[in-house]
Subunit: 481 residues, 2 copies
């Protein structure tokens, strides 16, 4: 790389590092509608380019407008924060740009990906298996369903299949990607059976058993059960042992979506949440969520590697890529992608730096912080903790005191409260529906969060709630279903 | 970010920049079998972590073992080289780690992705449409097939469908991801009809028409046709105009896989290769191939956005993510991913720096270099150009002179020749089968390549070919089919 390019990249890193200082105005987000942002930002893609100086200017603009996902106030999705190992891993992966399909062009990267997957499998206590890094939990769930189909109907890859005669099972509180997967593989969303959950959002194994029986009597075959370890809103863990019993009894593939909850396995205190996962046929687990790596870093692991291999088969067409003499070392044979980034490196580097013990301490710390926030919420008379947290999702809402006719408008009030939080820009938490109530969901998955951050969040919620006009019943819209 | 982390990242960038100097020994690859590499590399994931100093050491090890995809000798896959805009874009995207699902957390990033997709659509001359960045051409082809199914059978997303009664069509020389997509969506690979190609590797529209008629008579419905703009081995462009006529006549969805060839649209000299693409229902186009961005940067574009939206639908489940008031600004509704990297930024930055004119000049330069290599191959009595290049894939093989009984062993000889090239480590080209011959495929998609690089490649091939033992007919294995 030439001198000009080097100086440019050094300037970019300097800009990035300066950007990563805490924001002077305390805001992690500026509330700009697309129409305003479009007016104030030059987004033109020119006929004649303006060179690297323009790029540096554009990078400054981008950094100024970016939501500060690295800052403690960012508790919105199931990930957040920025670690030096993660950023370094991405920089090195980009600079050595390769594709994970063949050992030939990704030698050490292939060994690193395999090492990381093997170690994750050890933590799952699966006696055998292999896997691949995918493009996220949604892809991991799709792979799980696809492997289930491959195992149940080995000829389907060649002959096709009638998706209308199959069904699959998931809890009512599972992630929407399972519904997308049902569509993609040809079952359709109507053949995805939503199983009832208990009061803590966990799939009811007896209800699952009845549902499988009912569908079987109706003439539909059960393709798979997707259990969730860490649901999106509530952070619930479906009980894997009894679900695995049901699956075993009916001979149905068990896929565990541990995209969010998988990291509990590092904590001796909390790993019981996934007891029985070693009985799953397949699991997905995102290292870009609680483990804090930059997006995307997501593992899909399967007990029977031959099923994954068959699910990714494509006849004998890729003579230009895979040669018979490299069968066992080319990771591309276990993937639905052809070109594929090296997402393993950042995870490897972070693991070398922190070790199992570091991951375990991180999980325990997040759980303590979540308990602290729950306690703070409980102690405030106008805040209501919705659901009892078992993971680091803390869902709550503000219930003003002494205001008549407010009942149905509390949902609207909390939706407004979230908008006010966003507009102020110091905190981001998400809005969700839980137990038929609109709640604020704050998630502890950001290493920058401290207990004082959570105290400040509660204070901000209470302060902003007081500034909101009270909606009389007649003025409000129907609460969202 | 704290002082120690900053110093660490500065050290990482310094290591990366030092690494990007041309290798002192001229080798872009060291030939190490997995077993050797495993022995000499510490891949242990420890219980107790070793901190950032260890990470810096690991990064040095990784850099030393990485294939030099940035160097001119790397002509193996359909991508190569490293540009400062691309690397800067990845660094900034990682440092501002966000997910593309909602405008709320990815405001400017959402506008940038939309701007890039709109501009690519303009180059496709599609009168209307929208798109999404996907995880690569394989995902783009899957999306194309899925949208075709959604359009042909709008109820399939809800009810499922019988994949065995459908079929789809692709040329014999298309990428293997189309076969994977046929499996994933439930048709099965047997229902993927391979249409004959002409002498230059282009799908024969009359053969396509006959194939659709034949399948229809057999009672199978045609789901889609996948035309290829830039086949993997030969770089052929299927003739889109007459194929679109056939699709229109039969009422079949036309998806164009322009993962490799899409960049021709920037060149006034070469854009005719994709004449008629404005009639396609969907197109995928990788900016990480000829446009030189780091993996992955891949666009999927569709004329009817409502089809894409329906294909990615999931009922009303993601209340925790998408709110009705943000319907038109949240890109997550057009994707099969939930968490998704910002892959648009690097493309935006490169486009701002180079402009359409820069991309066009790049394409023209690559075409000139490919012509130069073809000419060199033609001028050497012992080299045979296999196929007439229309794009920057140059396929050739070595045919030793005056050696008796060599006929069938030329394939083996060229496979050995490639192994010798790899072992020497100065050049990487791929091995493929073309017109029933094993060929060396060298691809011009790397900005570091110059005409002297190609002269050196030819010299190396001739020199190494002379060192290979001649296989008598009786000694050789059967050539690969």
């Amino acid at each position: 790389m030439e001198g000009e390019s080097k100086r440019f990249l050094e300037s970019v890193l300097a800009e990035v590092l300066a950007h990563l200082e805490p924001p002077k105005d305390g805001r992690i987000r500026h509330d700009l509608a697309p129409s305003s942002l479009r007016k104030t930002t030059d987004l033109e893609l020119p006929i004649i380019g303006a060179g690297l100086d323009q790029v540096l200017e554009d990078i400054r603009t981008y950094l100024n407008g970016a939501v500060r996902t690295d800052q403690p106030g960012f508790m919105n999705p199931l990930w957040g924060g920025l670690t030096p190992e993660g950023l370094a891993g991405e920089l090195v992966a980009a600079a050595t740009n390769t594709s994970m399909y063949t050992y030939e062009i990704a030698p050490l990267a292939s060994l690193i990906e395999t090492a990381v997957l093997d170690r994750m499998r050890q933590h799952l206590r699966m006696p055998s298996g292999a896997g691949t890094l995918t493009t996220g939990g949604s892809a991991g769930n799709l792979m799980g369903v696809l492997c289930a189909r491959q195992a149940a109907l080995p000829a389907s890859g060649h002959d096709g299949f009638d998706g209308r005669s199959w069904c699959m099972f998931v809890s009512k509180e599972a992630h929407y990607s399972v519904a997308m997967a049902a569509n993609v593989v040809g079952l359709g969303r109507a053949n995805l059976v939503k199983v009832d959950t208990d009061g803590q959002g966990r799939m009811d194994p007896a209800a699952l058993d009845r549902a499988i029986q009912r569908e079987t009597e109706l003439g539909r075959r059960a393709l798979c059960v997707v259990a969730t370890s860490g649901t999106t809103v509530r952070g619930s863990f479906d009980p894997i042992q009894p679900i695995a019993d049901v699956c075993e009894h009916h001979g149905v593939w068990l896929h565990v979506d541990a995209a969010w909850g998988g990291a509990c396995l590092f904590s001796s205190t909390h790993r019981h949440l996934m007891d029985g996962v070693e009985r799953a046929d397949s699991v997905c687990w995102d290292a870009h969520k609680m483990m804090g790596l930059p997006l995307v870093c997501s593992a899909f692991i399967v007990q029977r590697v031959e099923v994954l291999r068959a699910a990714c088969a494509h006849g004998n067409e890729a003579h230009y890529l895979f040669h018979d003499d490299a069968e066992d070392q080319d990771l591309g044979r276990l993937s639905l992608q052809c070109g594929r980034r090296n997402d393993a490196l950042k995870l490897f580097l972070a693991w070398r730096s922190r070790g199992d013990a570091g991951w375990g301490a991180l999980v325990d710390r997040y759980m303590e912080l979540a308990a602290h926030l729950s306690e703070r919420v409980r102690s405030e008379p106008t805040l209501e903790l919705v659901g009892e947290p078992t993971w680091t999702n803390v869902c709550f809402r503000h219930v003003p005191e002494g205001v008549p006719h407010l009942g149905e408008s509390i949902d609207r009030h909390n939706a407004d409260l979230r908008v006010a939080l966003l507009e102020e820009g110091r905190f981001m938490v998400s809005r969700a529906d839980l137990d038929e109530r609109v709640v604020l969901r704050s998630v502890i998955a950001n290493p920058a969060v401290e207990s004082s951050t959570l105290d400040d969040l509660v204070d901000a919620v209470l302060r902003l709630a007081r500034t909101l006009p009270v909606h009389a019943k007649s003025q409000v819209e129907e609460p969202r279903a």
